[in-house]
Symmetry: C3
Subunit: 158 residues, 3 copies
């Protein structure tokens, strides 16, 4: 029987997103089924940087949309960010090692068929429109996340 890993991606940090996507890609290569449920700040990771919409949004939703990071490479570090200097340093160190960038891991996960879910309540509150997110993201409710998570071999809150 196929093993399953379920990640709840709550955080919108570059380094935590990197950890989640490295685990997701590696698990897929081991034939483990992978689900990522993007909620709250985690949704910033699956915003499509090319698209944004101000239509049908309240003033708060518009402000929030402008202030929140837009897509993978726009995320800050969880630690030692120093207004972006720490992140530049990490990116240089990754490049020196020939390591792929966050967006490469994200695209790898999309290509490998990692299942992307978006949290309905978070999308509603933050005012993101479905068309602003990557097309793979299916909007579901907390109940559906829990069903998936409870029947998985491992669950992480990242």
């Amino acid at each position: 029987m196929t093993q399953r890993m379920n990640l709840l991606m709550f955080s919108g940090d570059y380094d935590k997103a990197l950890a989640a996507l490295i685990l997701a890609n590696t698990a897929k290569e081991m034939d483990v089924d992978v689900t990522i449920f993007f909620a709250f700040w985690g949704l910033c990771l699956v915003r499509d940087p090319e698209k944004s919409s101000g239509e049908d949004k309240t003033t708060y939703e518009k402000m929030f949309g402008m202030m929140a990071p837009k897509g993978p490479e726009d995320l800050p570090l969880s630690k030692m960010n120093f207004a972006g200097i720490g992140k530049e340093m990490l990116l240089e160190m990754m490049e020196d090692d020939g390591a792929p960038k966050l967006i490469d891991f994200l695209n790898g996960a999309r290509k490998k068929g990692v299942k992307f879910y978006g949290c309905k309540l978070s999308v509603d509150i933050m005012g993101f429109k479905p068309e602003e997110l990557l097309p793979e993201v299916e909007i579901i409710e907390a109940k559906d996340y829990l069903k998936d998570a409870l029947s998985s071999n491992m669950q992480l809150f990242i």
Copy 2:
């Protein structure tokens, strides 16, 4: 057999507490047994805002008690808090969507019978008195948390 979800609530952030309590309420509605073990900053969520005690406390414990958030609505955001502006914005956006507040989810979880445990070591170190916490909170040791967690279908560290 009844499924069980075990959450370790370590963080004292408004948004993370919201995520934990939404999951707890939703799981209960699906007839899943839910335990939340409040440790470290997570204990701030179950402080009773009406009660506080300075008795039998060291100076550090008193200072700590005054500086740490008192109850659900006093918690800061984990990101974009901007001295409270980000939180006000999130609260406005939640209100615009008719979403309940953190305290409503907390009271929902209490009413639905989510099991609340408090970490003995954390309570001792932080100097919280049992009477300063919600009456549902039962103080237990890490060993008891682990027994519960190991026999659950899923565990999250939030």
Copy 3:
């Protein structure tokens, strides 16, 4: 059959490391097998404060090595750190209660045989040399972490 707990230690915060090591020590006392996989900032916890190496490092790796915390007692708090004041306060409160320090819990875990793994990709990117880490740390790939985690009774991302 022996029960197993798997922790992914991502964070480099004093308080979160304390939580992880208290759980690890307690689980071991209950005859539960324990694995901790140190990745990203979590690696700072298992840096040997006595050893450091500037050899074969790029400028970024050297800078990073100097700026990142060196060993358990050098880690900051995740909250209320206030440039170290909050941490001093926590340490005083722990001492008042006769609670062991982080380094005591770390040494306890080493003595009790908690299995320490280090993430290869993180070590490579951050430029840590194996000799800068505690001798118990075995460097493994994400694939090996996942195998261990998927076959454990519980997994936490800390």
